[in-house]
């Protein structure tokens, strides 16, 4: 009888926990995946896993545990996607039968194209010449990470992020001149 009551209590608590947190977990996955279905699947999987160890973490530790589970699921989700992409077959645009199916485009201006390629090559060489720490900060900032997120990901201080960015911008300007749209400084 007691065991049955315990099980009922446990399910009630789990249901209340679901009410408290499901929306947040779903929103987290929706913000970091590209489809609503993936987000819903991941959110459901997170709760299935928490349910399996609910006895251990219910109460004060539940939200911390749920966050860890959800974060790890999202990391594995992106790992699998990246691995699938890496092992996928590459199709080159020069393949004759595919190229034949492409719609005809306007004749490009070869002068502009060449200039653009040279510009990008100069930029790539300049970024490559940065120290590894400076390059990491600049590339993450170009991907939309805030200074705090960069500090968190690279496990360095906020001051270190700012100083690496400053040094990187200075080095890039020295190499490329002032005619460069730099990633903007955060206010």
């Amino acid at each position: 009888m007691n065991a049955r009551n315990d099980a009922a209590d446990r399910e009630r608590e789990f249901s209340a926990m679901y009410e408290r947190h499901f929306g947040r977990v779903l929103r987290f996955f929706r913000a970091h995946t590209r489809s609503k279905e993936d987000a819903a699947d991941l959110a459901q999987e997170a709760f299935v896993r928490v349910h399996a160890r609910f006895e251990q973490y219910r109460g004060e530790g539940e939200w911390t545990y749920l966050q860890t589970v959800a974060r790890n699921l999202l990391i594995n989700f992106w790992r699998e996607r990246s691995a699938a992409k890496r092992s996928g077959q590459e199709i080159h645009i020069e393949t004759p039968d595919i190229a034949a199916e492409l719609p005809k485009t306007e004749q490009p201006d070869y002068g502009d194209e060449q200039e653009k390629r040279q510009r990008q090559q100069r930029l790539q060489e300049a970024v490559r010449a940065l120290s590894s720490g400076q390059r990491q900060v600049i590339l993450l900032q170009m991907d939309g990470f805030t200074y705090e997120e960069i500090a968190d990901a690279l496990e360095i201080s906020l001051d270190a992020v700012k100083s690496r960015r400053r040094d990187a911008v200075r080095a890039l300007k020295n190499r490329l001149g002032d005619d460069v749209a730099m990633p903007e400084e955060e206010r």
Binding site: T68, A70, A83, Q124, S132, Q136, L140, L176, D179
Partner: protein, 246 residues
């Protein structure tokens, strides 16, 4: 003029090259060890490069959770709950064959299992009774925990010493004046968070935790300190501790 579009093309090209050079993204276990500061400098640098090459993973590792549930239509919410119930509901049991109709060895094994189950239940019940025994007690001194990297040479971890039935830990916060509130999380050696609490520091820049001895079996643990400002949590320090065998 180098434009934003040039930057984006170059970023994509560099990421593709880095992925080819570095290989697969880091695993959850590698990231947990990276977060706990357990990797060598070279290994940690490789993880940093991988996080830059796989920014989705860096985002998954650092992105904050929304503060609220937001609005989820009732029908949609009910649909998700129903689907979840279908996955976690207990599976129907196999038909029960009476003990006396089973082969003898099965009956003997079942009888032994029953005896052990009874013994286990009695022990578990005794342990539960012990752990809920509460009584006033005098706290005879807190054990100060300093952040990893700020202890003396050769002190890789702090060995916890119990005060009665608790470990009373005074966590010296890494940047006590920089944030209004802090979060302390206790994680086990597998990186699983066991407990977490938030609060403001005491005037002397510490955060005191009373951990029941029964909560921590012998092993290695880590306390992780985050500074909280608004919705942001910034990881500031770790405190590696070890609970000796009793």
């Amino acid at each position: 003029m180098i434009t934003k579009s040039d930057w984006e093309t170059v970023r994509q090209a560099m990421i593709a090259e880095d992925r080819a050079r570095l290989g697969d993204p880091p695993t959850v276990e590698e990231l947990e060890r990276y977060r706990r500061g357990e990797l060598s400098d070279g290994e940690a640098e490789r993880i940093r490069e991988l996080l830059v090459a796989y920014p989705e993973i860096a985002r998954a590792m650092t992105a904050p959770f929304p503060e609220s549930n937001g609005h989820l239509p009732a029908a949609e919410s009910a649909g998700y709950w129903k689907a979840l119930q279908a996955r976690i509901a207990p599976k129907p049991l196999a038909p029960v064959i009476p003990l006396w109709k089973r082969p003898v060895w099965t009956a003997v094994a079942a009888a032994i299992a029953l005896v052990f189950a009874a013994l286990y239940l009695r022990t578990a019940s005794q342990l539960r009774q012990t752990s809920v025994t509460l009584a006033p007690r005098v706290v005879d001194g807190e054990q100060e925990l300093r952040p990893d990297g700020r202890r003396g040479p050769g002190e890789e971890e702090t060995v916890l010493t119990a005060a009665g039935d608790s470990y009373v830990l005074s966590v010296a916060l890494a940047q006590p004046n920089e944030y209004p509130r802090f979060r302390i999380t206790l994680v086990n050696a597998d990186g699983v968070a066991l407990w977490s609490a938030t609060g403001a520091p005491r005037e002397n820049g510490t955060f005191v935790i009373d951990v029941p001895r029964a909560f921590l079996p012998a092993g290695r643990y880590q306390l992780v300190e985050h500074g909280l400002a608004g919705a942001r949590a910034t990881r500031l320090a770790t405190y590696t501790v070890r609970v000796p065998k009793r």
